[in-house]
């Protein structure tokens, strides 16, 4: 057993994403297959090997904190599914 339906549902829940029963079945089947494939990686000895995060350069990029012009509010809000004047509208989150 590599992954079961409950775990798939739990992961979708953590990812804040609804999945249908049909999708749960399909994803469970697919992920079981993939996790079995991933198990092959355990054959490889990685003792003492450093993890790669950036494929080429491993350095932080800093810059001066300079004030620059940003997008106008109306441009930023243009794609908002719901807005009110200068704000994004969201459901009530405080009781």
């Amino acid at each position: 057993m590599f992954i079961d339906k409950d775990t798939v549902e739990q992961m979708a829940d953590i990812a804040h994403m609804h999945i249908s029963k049909e999708e749960t079945n399909e994803i469970t089947k697919e992920l079981s297959f993939l996790l079995e494939c991933f198990d092959k990686l355990n054959q490889i000895d990685t003792e003492g090997v450093k993890a790669t995060v950036h494929p080429i350069i491993d350095k932080n990029v800093f810059r001066e904190d300079v004030v620059q012009e940003s997008l106008p509010i109306e441009e930023v809000l243009k794609n908002a599914p719901d807005k009110d004047n200068r704000f994004f509208r969201v459901p009530k989150i405080i009781e």
């Binding site: 992954i3 775990t7 798939v8 992961m11 979708a12 829940d13 953590i14 990812a15 804040h16 994403m17 609804h18 999945i19 249908s20 999708e23 399909e26 994803i27 697919e30 992920l31 297959f33 993939l34 494939c37 991933f38 092959k40 990686l41 355990n42 490889i44 990685t46 090997v49 450093k50 993890a51 790669t52 995060v53 950036h54 494929p55 080429i56 350069i57 990029v61 810059r63 997008l71 441009e75 930023v76 243009k78 794609n79 908002a80 599914p81 719901d82 994004f88 969201v90 459901p91 009530k92 989150i93």
Partner: protein, 485 residues
């Protein structure tokens, strides 16, 4: 003269000599799109009015030396185009109109490039066939029953079917090279950091790159010249100097040392594909190069390492689509949590959901060390394998894809076969290397691609190797035989 058949180079020459105008050229392409895109389905949005306006502006410009001036281009739909819908071919972004341009677009617009429209792709660049697009699959111009490849399938098909002169795609695990291979055109994945990713909707940000898809290697050099370089908006872009890639366009290629990784030419590779790659090796030998079989021992694990890292990164990147600031929001919901869940549940397709669930699972506390951390360590070993190979060899050659284009619907139900598609391309993304796919043969009328892999920031060498091969072979000249009706 059939204007839609022109390359960047030829169209530029004609514009420069004032034998054609950009407006004529642009109109010819919209006519071509009108005539043929019903069959191919390469585009998801067109930009006709603005494109014609830009073409007229280009015609008035004095600087006719600029090679991309007035040349029509198609752009993959995950690259932000200001005031032009950018959907990532997902219901999630179906109505998203970016308020800014990606850096590559800014660079092209400065040169008065003519943006024809946005091309189809797998949803959020997840897939190898454009079948996961929320719109429709793009068909392969060589055989309309087959896929164009993916995820940049619309871009590759548009170039192959003469629906644009060149196109931009993005490549995270092979998404420029694989469709270029399937459609018989040239596709380049630059070194990670060579081209700015600013304005590219992230799929897996430690591997995402933007690259050109063109009709030949000369055009590839022109386009890379235009888009490469450091960008302050992308902290992962590199300050490594950008050479003039046109200098690489030489047919002589003396005494190069070429490695052929045996792990990427094994039993999973179709006979015809293998033969075409070995024939390409013979060609390089006759040019005075030295080819040798080599081992990149961890390459065979790259596919699974890639899927672990790509899924974990994707699950994190795609967290931004929450139905609040932009993107799809469900109509009915009870509270904030319900809004998130329904909006994401309705907005994402099955392939994206699969990767988000997988990525969430792999980066979960319990699994982090076993899968994610392990994969990142093997990624280091893969990188070292390549570094070791490049101590001795100037470039490596492999198939781009183990087989030719598959039938629409054929692999969507057989995921292992689908994953194996990425066998030869994913190791390159993990190591951040540059690679180009060029046509190197045909199997039953379908194009085969040769992948040439180079050292970091050494696009010049692979372009030169590709150019030498192209100029001495005819594969890129073969024309598609269009069936009537």
């Amino acid at each position: 003269m059939e204007l839609h058949k022109l390359t960047v180079y030829k169209a530029h020459e004609l514009i420069k000599k004032k034998e054609i105008t950009s407006e004529e050229l642009t109109k010819a392409f919209f006519k071509r799109i009108d005539n043929i895109d019903d069959k191919i389905k390469a585009y998801v949005s067109l930009n006709k009015e603005k494109a014609l306006k830009t073409s007229r502006q280009a015609d008035k410009k004095a600087d006719f030396e600029e090679p991309l001036l007035g040349i029509p281009v198609a752009v993959k739909d995950n690259i932000c185009t200001k005031n032009l819908r950018t959907t990532c071919c997902s219901k999630m972004l179906e109505n998203f109109v970016p308020p800014y341009d990606a850096t590559v677009l800014t660079k092209l617009k400065e040169k008065y490039a003519v943006i024809l429209g946005k091309t189809n792709m797998d949803e959020f660049a997840m897939g190898s066939s454009t079948e996961s697009s929320c719109f429709y699959p793009t068909k392969n111009p060589w055989d309309l029953d087959r896929v164009s490849g993916g995820s940049s399938g619309g871009s590759a098909a548009a170039v192959a079917a003469d629906e644009c002169i060149y196109a931009l795609g993005s490549d995270t695990g092979g998404s420029v090279r694989q469709p270029a291979s399937y459609c018989g055109v040239v596709g380049l994945k630059p070194t990670y950091g060579r081209v700015s990713r600013f304005g590219l909707a992230a799929s897996a940000s430690s591997m995402d790159t933007i690259g050109p898809i063109t009709k030949d290697v000369t055009d590839c050099a022109f386009v890379l010249n235009a888009i490469a370089g450091l960008d302050s908006y992308d902290p992962t872009s590199s300050d490594s100097p950008v050479p003039d890639y046109l200098i690489s366009l030489q047919t002589e290629l003396k005494s190069a040392k070429i490695g052929i990784p045996k792990e990427l030419l094994g039993d999973l590779v179709d006979r015809d594909v293998k033969d075409a790659v070995l024939k390409a090796a013979d060609f390089y030998e006759t040019m005075g190069c030295h080819c040798e079989e080599i081992s990149v021992p961890h390459a065979e694990y790259a596919l699974w390492v890639y899927y672990i890292i790509a899924s974990a990164e994707a699950s994190s990147e795609l967290g931004q689509y929450d139905g609040i600031r932009y993107g799809h929001r469900a109509e009915k919901y009870e509270d904030l949590q319900d809004l998130y869940k329904k909006s994401r549940g309705e907005g994402f397709g099955i392939e994206v959901k699969r990767r988000i669930v997988l990525g969430t699972y792999l980066s979960d506390d319990e699994n982090y060390d076993k899968y994610y951390s392990k994969a990142q360590k093997i990624r280091t070993l893969i990188k070292k394998d390549f570094e070791y190979a490049f101590d001795k060899y100037d470039f490596l050659i492999t198939p781009t894809v183990p087989s030719t284009a598959f039938r629409i619907g054929e692999k969507i139900d057989d995921q292992l076969k689908m994953y194996m598609n990425d066998l030869c391309t994913t190791p390159v993304n993990l190591a951040g290397l540059p690679a180009i796919s060029i046509p190197c043969g045909f199997s039953k009328g379908l194009p085969i691609g040769l992948q040439i892999i180079g050292k970091p920031f050494d696009e010049a060498t692979i372009i030169q190797a590709a150019y030498a091969f192209e100029q001495n072979t005819d594969y890129h000249k073969r024309q598609i035989e269009w069936k009537e009706g």
